[in-house]
């Protein structure tokens, strides 16, 4: 990957996530957090996806994992509901391409391809579900303790 590609991916995932944060009426002070969350998730997705022994659903799993981890840390730090970062941050990982391709192949009557793409999008959706469920199940106190321990250690 060239530097230009990396930069454009970083920029687009950041700005795109902020765009959706605006759409969902997120208060202005959380925009940067939302952008960072979306960006981190998308970069993780790209890194895992670039390994040729990984499928895109595994990559989505790790992307979602990073998104949720980051939104939990940010929600402790900025004292606000996790939903704010989670909903906008998960957007880059939503399998829009897979859904479009499924419809496209159904319309053009290539049903085998449609089934392939449809199952792949389902797999991606399920991977995102797994990523979210695993991190959400970590008790809240763990994050609070780690964060305050970190803050006290820094002073």
């Amino acid at each position: 990957m060239t530097t230009q590609q990396i930069l454009s991916n970083v920029f687009c995932s950041f700005v795109g996530t902020v765009g959706f944060a605006i759409m969902y009426n997120v208060p202005k002070k959380y925009y940067i957090g939302c952008g960072l969350t979306g960006m981190a998730g998308w970069l993780m997705y790209l890194i895992v996806d670039a390994q040729n022994y990984m499928t895109s659903s595994v990559a989505s799993f790790f992307g979602a994992f990073v998104v949720v981890l980051m939104s939990r840390i940010l929600s402790v730090r900025m004292k606000c509901p996790i939903t704010i970062f989670l909903i906008s941050g998960i957007f880059p990982l939503v399998p829009g391409l897979g859904i479009y391709n499924t419809v496209y192949y159904i319309v053009t009557n290539q049903l085998t391809q449609a089934a392939l793409k449809g199952i792949e999008s389902l797999k991606i959706a399920f991977a995102i579900v797994m990523g979210i469920v695993i991190v959400v199940s970590i008790p809240r106190d763990v994050f609070h303790k780690i964060y305050y321990w970190y803050v006290e250690g820094k002073d």
């Binding site: 687009c12 959706f20 969902y24 004292k79 053009t108």
Partner: protein, 281 residues
């Protein structure tokens, strides 16, 4: 008040409360209102239940049972004398305003830190409920930005992304207009899908030899503002908290929206491909 009359009043659930009962009533009503605002604007079931419990217990209503669905809250509270007060609230599935969720959360934090009294909290809640959404112009631009950027991430070229920006803006304009006219979700999303594909096909006709505007990049970017990200994420979070009933309802909501968008895009693509003899697609 004699015993027979009180029993009668309880059976009919009419208004006849002793002071402690009216206190319970006031607290439960307030907590329920906070829960309603949270659920309406996209809070999770877990957060709604936690907020109601926190408010009730802080204001001295110890025994409170809550049953929350994706579109309804049932609260039942009991005072020391064993009198029960119950409320049911129906909350239709509707749009998202995450700013309000954040503010109600802040209010409930303040309440548990003992910073506000119940009457102050009530006033604040009323103010929060009336927070207007961001201006339509800002939202439309945000949708355009999101559409263009995600189109680019999914492999569209720069020119296609710029076109996608306008498609995204246009689609969200339609969504806002349709919501203003209280059109149903089915209509909004099917027509949204149709509009996106029509715009993309229209733009495709302007492609020159060195800058071909492919359909797929523009359509994928364009459908992003319609994608029900909030319903999907909330559904997953509800399932993760073992609220399977609400999780299923919300997941169904999200899946149906996906289907509607796909139908809208599909209708236009199939018509177009038949019109052109199937060789352009």
């Amino acid at each position: 008040m004699d015993i027979g009359k009180e029993k009668d009043a309880k059976q009919n659930e009419t208004e006849s409360f002793t002071p402690s009962e009216s206190n319970v009533k006031q607290v439960v009503d307030f907590a329920l209102e906070a829960g309603r605002i949270l659920l309406k604007n996209g809070g999770e079931i877990f957060r709604v239940e936690e907020t109601i419990t926190r408010i009730c217990q802080h204001f001295g209503v110890e025994h409170v049972d809550i049953f929350t669905l994706s579109h309804g809250i049932f609260v039942s509270a009991e005072n020391e004398e064993g009198d029960v007060y119950t409320r049911v609230k129906h909350i239709p599935l509707s749009g998202a305003h995450l700013g309000i969720v954040a503010e109600v959360n802040e209010l409930s934090r303040q309440i548990s830190e003992n910073k506000v009294t119940i009457s102050e909290a009530k006033e604040q809640l009323k103010k929060i409920d009336q927070t207007p959404p961001s201006r339509a112009r800002t939202q439309v631009l945000g949708a355009g930005m999101g559409a263009a950027c995600f189109g680019f991430l999914m492999g569209a070229t720069l020119t296609e992304s710029i076109v996608t920006f306008f498609i995204g803006c246009f689609v969200y304009l339609w969504v806002i207009l349709a919501k203003h006219c209280h059109l149903s979700k089915i209509i909004i999303n099917i027509i949204g899908g149709i509009l996106i594909t029509l715009c993309a096909i229209f733009a495709n006709h302007f492609s020159t030899a060195d800058a071909v505007l492919r359909l797929d990049g523009m359509i994928i970017g364009g459908i992003m503002p319609l994608v029900p990200g909030m319903a999907f994420t909330n559904a997953i979070r509800d399932v993760a908290d073992s609220d399977f009933l609400s999780g299923t309802v919300r997941m169904m909501d999200a899946l149906m929206v996906f289907v509607y968008i796909a139908v809208g895009v599909g209708i236009v693509l199939i018509t177009y491909s038949n019109m052109t003899g199937g060789f352009i697609l």
